[in-house]
Symmetry: C2
Subunit: 422 residues, 2 copies
């Protein structure tokens, strides 16, 4: 059991700080080189898909389509059906992409900027375009937004998703607010699952902009560490409220099989899908259908995917539990940090005392442990309270993760103490 | 030996026309369903790469990079080296893409429109942007240009490439002309090989626009049907003339291995490559490296590629020779059509009498043979003389091609005769 640091006397703080400085120096002397920066799967997670590397590719789709040749822009029927089954989406409203759903998001944003959507003015022709960015959030979403000069508005995250009172108030009154980034299941980085109420409110809210778009990045939609969670259907909620074109839904198998060679998809209303295909047919003759076959040959169907995700979970659970156990042991009750306990996804997020995140990450870096840059989880890399740090436990082996987490916690405490005592 | 139709008397023309109408009716009664529309390889061309489907993927690059995971945005070192060796380009100035070089071209155009290049105003912010379109040319190039609202200026093709007097005169005097499409080797659709002089003049010409760009789509750069042709180095010509950033060079293995699952690349100056990567790193975490490995495992090196292209040529030569022989037999000396004799690439282009292309394609279609739409080889699908038709002989089997070509020639003559006698 740790002591509450706010209750320690200056003399006690001095003693604790000396101990921490010693522990930190000891870590420094070890010349570590560990990385908890990016949400990359570890090698053992990739190994479970290695049948993909070894098996022969059938080359032809079920309907006889020669997958070696050009064509089939919207993706193979069986691939669209698979995604539909897994996500509960109409396969007719699914367009299969290449190996990167981020690329589909970037291209979607590009089209909105250059061409506009459903007859509305292209966003790039407007004097001002703003986007809502629930934060902490995913740095690559913010980078796409910033790339196009879109002003980002930070929306605080709650335990149920974005602060919907704030979202509703903003979108109803400002027609230059054109969209919102959402990672609805196990949000990056906190692991928050949007509540049913949040999903319904996002679908139903009145938006001043007729071309308001929800970028629904369901990156961790099947990445349960424990019992599966069924989320309310965003498409149904939008349709019910008369906003059928509001959602662009992204998903991929990157963190199901291989990040480098997965299959991505985008889904939206029939009208939006038609618009996407109208532009995509100028952009490419078709994505890699052999990789669609390869991926399906391995995952087979929705049941096969569930089995695969159980294997993934069995590899990731010990890592997440180690992270959370270490946080509790080292920081629980100290009052120096707060965190949530995700039940899926790829990250744990930690809040230090205000003004201590950058220093914590710097200390970790100097002792050989690379974390995601402090601030990265906010628009413009600017965490207004300088407190949020994303922990990505998937890539390092368990033994390395244990060392890295212990050092990290020492850094959290040391940065806090140096600040308190300054 | 055919007779020159311009020398026939009205009575003779009537006889010939009756014969043609009978031949055409006979074709119609056969209920054919043949396709010479798109430059798709035939199944036998795909079969020669089927070792790709069957062999195990090593999964790791020579430098140990785990190709299953994220990363390596610019492409694997061995893939860049391969392209460099094949094309005589510095591998450091090569960026590997996904399965589609068309997609790389589209994205390059998008960036020029939205972000501009090397500090110049984004093209989308200018009141007017124009592009030079050597024609007959590739319909998908024109579609990309039209997508962005760029005005297309048709440049006539000569036997040595685009009419360079016209090109030089235009680009030197109009700074709204921002670029030119080039298929320098075995141009689509005529099979023209740009002469050394043309390459030098393209590199050296004075452009009013400082950000003038040559979209150098070397799609058929290694697609020789007979002896290989070595073309002058466009990068060297540009550099010599002080225009190092002028060229965006595109290439892919789509028509070397599989169209649906090839590997694409773009090459340019170091400054342009840095700019491309700056945006691409926002767009994607990396393209499919396993497919790079797979492709290299099969093609091995520049010598391996040459062997592969000899196999491709041995499959395509009979088709091209059949097309050219049929044209000569049916149309040679008639004065009703003109064509070039390509020594590589994917197409043969034919010019009918003025005003007869659309009617010829319609007649062929009604008798069950689909050709590329007349006009498709010109900007806005508008062939000012309505005479150019692209013949794509690669996809149909040889026996079908023979029937389709015979019918096609009947249609050329019939359309001409109906016009002459109208």
């Amino acid at each position: 059991m740790n002591c509450d640091f706010s209750k320690l006397s200056p003399a006690e703080l001095t003693v604790v700080r000396r101990e921490l400085e010693e522990r930190y120096a000891e870590f420094q002397s070890r010349k570590l080189k560990l990385n908890m920066a990016r949400g990359k799967p570890g090698a053992e997670q990739l190994d479970i898909s290695d049948a993909i590397l070894e098996s022969a590719n059938p080359g032809f789709a079920a309907d006889g389509t020669d997958c070696r040749n050009y064509g089939c822009l919207e993706g193979l029927p069986e691939m669209r059906q698979f995604f539909g089954d897994v996500l509960g989406i109409d396969p007719n409203n699914i367009i299969v992409g290449g190996n990167s759903s981020l690329n589909l998001m970037y291209d979607a944003m590009t089209r909105l900027m250059v061409f506009g959507t459903q007859g509305n003015t292209p966003w790039g022709k407007l004097p001002k375009v703003k986007f809502l960015c629930p934060s902490p959030g995913y740095d690559r979403h913010f980078a796409v937004t910033e790339e196009f000069g879109i002003e980002m508005i930070t929306i605080p995250m709650t335990d149920h998703g974005p602060d919907m009172d704030m979202v509703e108030s903003l979108v109803s009154s400002d027609d230059s607010i054109k969209g919102i980034w959402c990672v609805p299941m196990y949000s990056n980085p906190e692991g928050v699952v949007y509540s049913d109420e949040t999903v319904s409110r996002l679908g139903a809210m009145k938006c001043a902009a007729p071309d308001f778009r929800i970028f629904w990045d369901n990156a961790y939609g099947v990445h349960h560490l424990y019992e599966p969670i069924v989320q309310r259907d965003i498409f149904a909620e939008c349709a019910k409220a008369g906003n059928p074109d509001r959602v662009l839904y992204f998903f991929s198998t990157s963190k199901i099989t291989y990040p480098g060679a997965g299959v991505s998809m985008v889904s939206s209303s029939a009208a939006n899908c038609a618009e996407i295909l109208k532009h995509m047919t100028i952009q490419t003759i078709g994505h890699d259908k052999l990789n669609q076959l390869r991926t399906l040959q391995f995952l087979k169907d929705a049941a096969g995917l569930r089995k695969q995700m159980e294997k993934q979970a069995s590899l990731l659970r010990p890592k997440f539990e180690l992270v959370l156990k270490t946080l509790e042991q080292e920081l629980g009750g100290t009052g120096l940090a707060q965190w949530k306990t995700p039940r899926g996804g790829y990250f744990v997020a930690l809040d230090t005392l205000d003004g201590c995140a950058k220093e914590t990450v710097r200390l970790a870096k100097e002792a050989g442990v690379t974390m995601t840059g402090a601030g990265a989880t906010f628009p413009y890399k600017n965490d207004p309270r300088d407190r949020n740090i994303r922990i990505a436990p998937t890539f390092p082996p368990l033994e390395e993760l244990a060392i890295a987490m212990e050092l990290f916690c020492v850094c959290v405490k040391l940065a806090a103490l140096r600040k308190i005592m300054a």
